[in-house]
Symmetry: C2
Subunit: 210 residues, 2 copies
């Protein structure tokens, strides 16, 4: 992972329910995966802890070893998905030779991640209604890492100077909407064509003859 | 309204419950305004028809003259808000001399509209869980008008050639996220600074020396 990573992944915060064994970590991961399917398909209100444990193949008592409530696992899931997304993107951009190549690689990685995790949008959006602080934290974590990387690239002269914070939120919004429209709603779109057109817009803008 | 409008507003579709009198139209508008406040503050599930009629100052029976259910008024509200947003933006950009100026004016208009209608994001996002077709239709209406205007501008040589559909979704995502972050979450940000930085990115991109 280098300075072109969309976001350096931060170390997970150990909490009272952080498993200490490899088996414990695996069980917690299974529960989160089951929660992704359950909340993604049925939504937060209709989703149930019993169904999550059934999908994960663990007993109900095991659930409460790791999470204290439905809201707790939902919040953990939003944090986890943000972390997974950023880590995946970071890995895909680590070999990019400069910021413009990193933008292209990061966007491509995000679109493929979104297509493979169709429940992502639904769950993140629903978090606004279940735990608004999780929703904001999800995007603020993206924006802060992105801002820092744009800042470094501008300092190195790889991109034009500009407001890195506003640019970060602009580029996140652009990727989120393109991902929703072309990677999730429409499974048949060639994602390379979307990466090319959007990268051209980001790199060279709309002005004629520039 | 000219070709620089973000979207030509389409004529409202007359339905069985379309009021025929000026008084009827005013009552329906009052109910939609009350629904915006009610669903925006309490969400769809906790929002109630009784509260909407109380906020609107009309009797319960009157509600059913215009809408057949809570879901019906929620759907109508999403359509109405999309129409209002597009009409407001269209008016603010109608005097723009070219597409780049129109982008700037349209973005400024959207940010101010979002700050004045803080419930907009919450209601539109929640529509994904109440009536997903309304949610998609909301953004597809924006994208289609936007795409058409970008196409016209490219044909006239005002902007570089490029994929108008992908550009439209990119620019919508960019504005939605900037509006959420700087117009809604943060009331004190000077929106002109956001318009300037984002317009610079859209117009000239990131490449050095272009």
């Amino acid at each position: 992972m280098n300075q072109y990573s969309i976001l350096q992944s931060s170390a997970p915060m150990p909490g009272p329910k952080t498993p200490k064994t490899r088996k414990g970590l695996a069980t917690k991961a299974k529960l989160l995966e089951a929660a992704e399917a359950e909340f993604g398909e049925r939504g937060y209100h209709d989703g149930s802890i019993v169904e999550i444990t059934r999908r994960a193949g663990v007993g109900l008592g095991t659930f409460y070893v790791y999470f204290e409530s439905k809201e707790a696992i939902f919040r953990a899931l939003v944090t986890h998905m943000g972390h997974e997304t950023r880590t995946f993107i970071a890995r895909q951009v680590e070999d990019a030779p400069d910021r413009l190549q990193a933008e292209r690689a990061g966007m491509r990685a995000f679109f493929h991640f979104a297509r493979a995790h169709k429940n992502l949008y639904r769950i993140v959006m629903e978090s606004q209604f279940v735990a608004e602080d999780s929703y904001r934290a999800y995007y603020e974590a993206f924006a802060e890492g992105y801002r820092r990387n744009l800042e470094i690239a501008a300092d190195k002269g790889e991109i034009r100077d500009g407001d890195s914070g506003i640019r970060a939120w602009s580029l996140i919004g652009l990727s989120v909407f393109l991902g929703m429209r072309y990677a999730v709603w429409d499974e048949s779109t060639d994602l390379e064509a979307v990466v090319d057109a959007a990268s051209d817009l980001i790199e060279r803008g709309l002005i004629v003859g520039r």
